[in-house]
Each structure stands twice: as C-alpha cells, then as structure tokens.
C-alpha cells in the first residue's frame, strides 16, 4: 500500500498555501500526518483532501520554559479543523495576558510559519499558526 501524503508533499503544498490531510473513505475521519491506514477504523481507503483553514481550539498552553531554539513565552494549541482533523500549532497575534480557559472553543484561522532552526535536519519547512 502506497503511503499517502508524505511529509515532503505536505510541506510542498503548504508553500502553495494549501493544508492537506487524509480523509478516510469509510469513517469520514480527517487526519494528519501521512499514514497508510485510518487511525480510527484501520481502513486503507484514504484520499488526500485540501482542508479548510479554519477550526476551533480544543486546548492550549502558554510555554514559559522552552526547549533550545524557541523563545518563551509562546502559545501552543490543538485545533480541530472544520473538516474534523486535529492539528497542533502556535496561536499568534494574541496578547499573552489575555489567555484564559475561555480560549477553548474559540474559532481560529490557520496559517503557516517558516521554521528557522539551525539544528533542525529538515530545512525550509513550515509549522501551523493560528489567529483568533
């Protein structure tokens, strides 16, 4: 079985402004990352789908002690997209003093941010960012 939507293909599409995921043709679940079977039902009948770049925050945190290469504080969140895929990214353009539990359930737009980390083995790649 061919592995659909490899990381490189996912990243190449981000450069074109597209957020790609996989849609299970059996249980209708949308998912990232690349995989050969649906993680919910195990079916191998998956199709690449251009996901809508909107969703709601399911949870978040403000990181104060960061790993090397990141400057704290910053917000990490998980978002459920309108296509029902779950993705992890950073909430940007939000005053950190205004973060509270009420962020959960808020609508966000999904965008992309180029990663600049000298030690990262993957060059010229993007992560997801969310704007409230």
């Amino acid at each position: 079985m061919k592995k659909l939507l490899k990381f490189s293909e996912y990243q190449e599409n981000i450069k074109k402004g597209r957020l790609l995921g996989l849609l299970c043709q059996e249980c209708n679940i949308c998912m990232l990352p690349s995989q050969s079977s649906c993680y919910m039902c195990g079916n191998q009948n998956l199709k690449v789908k251009n996901l809508k770049k909107r969703g709601i925050i399911t949870t978040f945190t403000v990181i104060h002690i960061a790993p090397a290469g990141f400057k704290a504080p910053y917000i990490v969140a998980i978002v459920r997209t309108v296509d029902n895929a779950y993705v992890m990214g950073n909430i940007i353009d939000l005053n950190l003093d205004k973060t509270n539990i009420k962020l959960i359930g808020r609508n966000v737009k999904i965008g992309f941010n180029r990663i600049i980390q000298p030690n990262n083995p993957y060059k010229n790649i993007f992560s997801l960012v969310f704007t409230v």
Partner: protein, 390 residues
C-alpha cells in the same frame, strides 16, 4: 504462559549522581542479583532500559557494556530498550513475556538514566524529542506543555474553575512529597505546602515548577524468573499476574487528552489477566510526571469515575496514612522519588515488590497483597500496566 515471578529488586538513590548511566545500572543490577541469591552466571538475558543516553551520556550500544561490567556470560544476549518514560517498564514486560514463554529462565532487567549534567534547556529539548518531530515538535511543545494542555482541557470539559483545579493539583504534589519524605531513596525528601506549589515558577500554564517531577539520575534493576525456579531460590517471590501494554500515535490525533486511551486499554488487559477489579488494588505506583497526570491516571485506571478524581488527594483518599481504596504512589512517585526516565518503571516495580514483601518500613501499607504499576511513555503513545501479587 508459565508462571513468572520477581525474585530480587534494587535501586540506587534517585538524585544528582556523578557516576555514568552504565555504572548506576551495574550498582543496582549487582544488588538485585545478591537479593535474588544468584550469580551473574545464572542470568540468561539482560534487558536494559535507557532513553536519553545517546545524548546525555554520549553512549549508544549501552547494554553490552553493562553486561560485561556485571559479569554476565558471553553467550547471554543484552538489549537496550527505549519507549520514552515507559522505557524500563517495556524492557521488563518483554523480559516477563520471554520468561513466561520459556525462552529464558532468569532475566535481569530494569533501566538507567543520567541526565543532570544537562542544562534545563537542553534536557527540555531532548525530552521533547519524544513528541512527533515533524508535526508536533516544530511548535515548541514540551512535556510540561503536553500535560498543561490536558489540565486546561480537563477544567473546560468538567466545568471546574481552573484556580480550584490548580489547588487540587497542588494537593497531589503535597501528598507525593509527604510520601517521598519517608523514602530514603527519593530525590526530594522535603515536605511542601499547597502554597509552595502555587507560588512556584510557571513552566507551562497552568503547570508550575512544583507541579512537575524533577530531572533525576538513577537506576533500578529487577530479576525476573520462572515461578518454578523462583521457589527454589528465595522464600518470598512476588508473582506477575497481569501485564498490559497499549500504543497510539501522536498526541493531537488523540482528541480528548483527559482520557489516555492507551492506559485504559493496557490496564483492562492487565486486570483481566489478573482476574481482579481496580478496587482490588492495594497499592499503585503510577505515572505522576505532573500533578494533573496523577488525576488522569487514577481515573483511567478505574479508581475514580472520570471527572471525579481531582479531589482525591485533597480529601486524603490516596494517602499512605488513610487511603480510602488504593494507596497511590507510596514511594513519592515521579514527583518526589524522582524521574530518571529510563529507570522509572523499574523503580515503580522496586516499590511495589518491597511493599508486597512488607519491607517498606515507615511507608509500609499494612497487608498489601495486590500492587499495580502504571507507566506512560511519550505524549500518551505508550502505556504499560503490570499487576503483582504476593
């Protein structure tokens, strides 16, 4: 599967050590062999857990060096296991399965970690490598961050005021430090107050430093034997009656972070094998890497209904001195005993075995007969449960 028993256990102190990861494991391993009344020549295999040695010790292929240092026979295989924080438990489970299936009669297992020479930033970075490198780590997520997101989701899901939840989380830390105070091997033998926790430095909102387990060095070793052989070697073998391990993918596809599905699956398998209910467990060493983690664990293991476990420590229900059902983390848990990643599961087994043998001194849970080990690896991707009985 034939009967499998634990015959000897030992651990180093958990604290900052100057010894190497291999030296620490050798110290624990040699003691465990002595307690098992066997010699190195009696061991059929070494299953060694180590998570971060490739970075912290600059050492790969660690198992053969530990093997030769302990003096095992050349014909004996030595393997290193890695499953993030569940590293040692996975090594032990594999040892149990191969002894149970008759491949080996006696296996030395356990784990070691030496991390304290790294800065907090380096250690945080290396720990975070257990998140998905392409889809999670690029966001700067950390392990406190993972459990912080679970805490926020818990407060939102069950409509608990976050300040109130943080108070109850702090009580988990107070309880585990009270237990660890009685444990001579614990990293932090210091009683703390709820106010200490709530006034400590913020790490990942809502988790503060005293909601988090420490970076520790240490090793723990266990000797696993067929029950037939165990009875000839020592008077009081502790029997393995249930083993469960479950696996899932990255964190963000797990949807509800308040329900660690891997733990629910693994513990169900272990309970079924043992023929027990959660209410039968007298003592439990569970994965309290963060205070919220203990709350999620006592619910996921079936000790409390979902959404109701958060007041357990506040109410005193999980304390050594007056536990309502199971005593939770009599050793002090990861929070106070410490968390040398690759050794943690083995240290949990050391505590449970000693409790079931009535060897725990001031921490002894009177009449403990059934003990449960619970270890989570990565962002909930691996869960292991082992039920032991005396």
């Amino acid at each position: 599967m034939r009967g499998v028993s634990i015959i000897g256990v030992a651990m180093t102190d958990f604290r900052k050590h100057h010894d190497t990861g291999i030296e620490l494991f050798v110290q624990a391993g040699v003691k465990a062999l002595k307690k098992s009344r066997i010699d190195p020549k009696d061991i059929d295999a070494l299953f060694l857990g180590n998570c971060l040695g490739s970075f912290s010790d600059k050492q790969v292929h660690m198992a053969p060096f530990a093997h030769s240092s302990i003096g095992l026979r050349t014909s004996v295989p030595a393997l290193r296991f890695e499953s993030a924080c569940a590293t040692a438990t996975v090594a032990i489970i594999n040892a149990i399965l191969l002894v149970g299936s008759g491949v080996y009669d006696i296996v030395l297992s356990g784990g070691t970690e030496k991390i304290s020479d790294l800065s907090t930033t380096s250690a945080t970075s290396i720990f975070a490598m257990a998140t998905h490198a392409q889809y999670e780590a690029l966001t700067g997520i950390t392990y406190p961050g993972v459990f912080a997101m679970a805490a926020n989701m818990y407060a939102d899901k069950y409509k608990i005021n976050l300040k109130e939840l943080k108070g109850h989380m702090a009580e988990v830390a107070v309880k585990n430090h009270a237990h660890g105070y009685e444990n001579p091997k614990a990293h932090y033998r210091k009683k703390i107050t709820k106010e200490d926790v709530l006034n400590s430095v913020m790490v990942a909102e809502p988790l503060q430093v005293l909601d988090c387990c420490p970076f520790s060095d240490g090793a723990a070793a266990v000797v696993i034997s067929s029950t037939d052989k165990a009875k000839d070697l020592i008077k009081n073998p502790i029997h393995v009656v249930g083993v469960g391990q479950a696996t899932s993918g990255p964190l963000y596809i797990q949807h509800d972070l308040t329900r660690i599905i891997t733990r629910e699956k693994a513990s169900k398998i272990a309970y079924n094998q043992a023929g027990i209910l959660p209410s039968s467990v007298d003592i439990c060493e569970l994965h309290d890497c963060f205070t919220i983690a203990e709350i999620l664990a006592i619910e996921g293991l079936g000790f409390y209904n979902f959404g109701e476990g958060y007041t357990a420590a506040t109410n005193g229900d999980t304390y050594l001195s007056h536990a309502k059902n199971s005593v939770v983390n009599p050793s002090g848990g990861l929070k106070s005993r410490g968390h040398p990643i690759g050794a943690t599961g083995a240290a949990q087994m050391v505590e449970v075995v000693e409790q079931l043998r009535n060897e725990s001194g001031s921490r002894q849970v009177d009449g403990a007969k059934i003990g449960l080990i619970d270890t989570i690896g990565g962002d909930f991707g691996t869960a292991c449960n082992i039920v032991l009985k005396n």
